[in-house]
Symmetry: C2
Subunit: 177 residues, 2 copies
């Protein structure tokens, strides 16, 4: 709230004429961010292509605002019309794809979990794995070296998220359709 007031060239207390609390500000931010997530793929074309597009843009939007993730995970969606709109688009495509009704919400939550976790990963410094080549963990060391070699083509966190999304979609297809 202090930083927000500073940016608006206004006293902190002035904010409370427009907003009830910090939580309230975060709720407004959530709606704005969710409306930036790309759901245009749903309702046209193959459902897995739409899911892929949705997941990537969802991750990109929240990787720039990771402090919001703990907030939105706990926020009742009834207060968030844009979020509800997004879920409706996803649900209707999953239903059309033949996913059983009882598995639609679990599928959405599973992908969202991957998206949120991956958003933190994007936020992490590029050197999280630095200095791990000691002889104490030989298997991990060779895996890390192979990952580093592949990094010139694709950033580490993109490679992981790509594999996660593709494996998850593949698995959902295999298990639910």
């Amino acid at each position: 709230m202090a930083a927000l007031a500073r940016n608006l060239d206004v006293a902190k207390s002035a904010l409370y004429n427009h907003v009830a609390s910090k939580q309230d500000v975060l709720r407004l931010m959530e709606e704005r961010l969710i409306s930036q997530v790309d759901v245009a793929g749903f309702g046209c074309g193959p459902w897995d292509e739409a899911m892929r597009r949705w997941a990537w843009s969802y991750r990109d939007v929240f990787s720039k605002h990771t402090p919001l993730i703990p907030v939105i995970a706990v926020l009742p969606v009834a207060d968030a019309p844009r979020t509800l709109e997004m879920y409706e688009a996803v649900s209707s495509d999953l239903a059309a794809a033949g996913i059983p009704n009882s598995k639609i919400v679990p599928s959405i939550v599973a992908i969202e979990s991957l998206v949120f976790g991956a958003a933190f990963d994007v936020d992490a410094p590029p050197d999280v794995f630095d200095g791990c080549l000691g002889g104490f963990s030989p298997s991990f060391a060779v895996a890390l070296q192979a990952a580093r070699a592949a990094e010139i083509e694709e950033p580490r966190h993109d490679a992981a998220f790509n594999l996660g999304v593709e494996a998850l979609l593949e698995g959902l297809k295999a298990l639910l359709t």
Copy 2:
């Protein structure tokens, strides 16, 4: 730091004789939590069974300490010997399972992303989806009703995490072996 000092019946400033900063405390907590994660399944039996066991205990441990997730996602693992130990156990099983070296780190990061996201989901109140049955989102409403019906057998977040883990493992098998 204030609460910690309170619990220890000591002045806040006394903490700094034992620890450099709050970040330092969180690093110590990370190590303690990671050492509670069950890696006993690795090195014996089928790799997917070991991964399942690992993922569930990993989620359970961190769902009780979600504020630590943003911290550990950004923490260099070189400073965390127990974490390194855990990665070594996972890596060696994935390599033995025939996963290409260049895909081991991405596989681990993908599962970890799912685990961290799911940990937030466990932490969420049971009524996140309450009051969403309005006519504005028909597909999501029926999906939600089906999910609620299944909830008497298995909690909502367990059903989602179960599907996520099973689909991810299935997908990794299909794509990488």
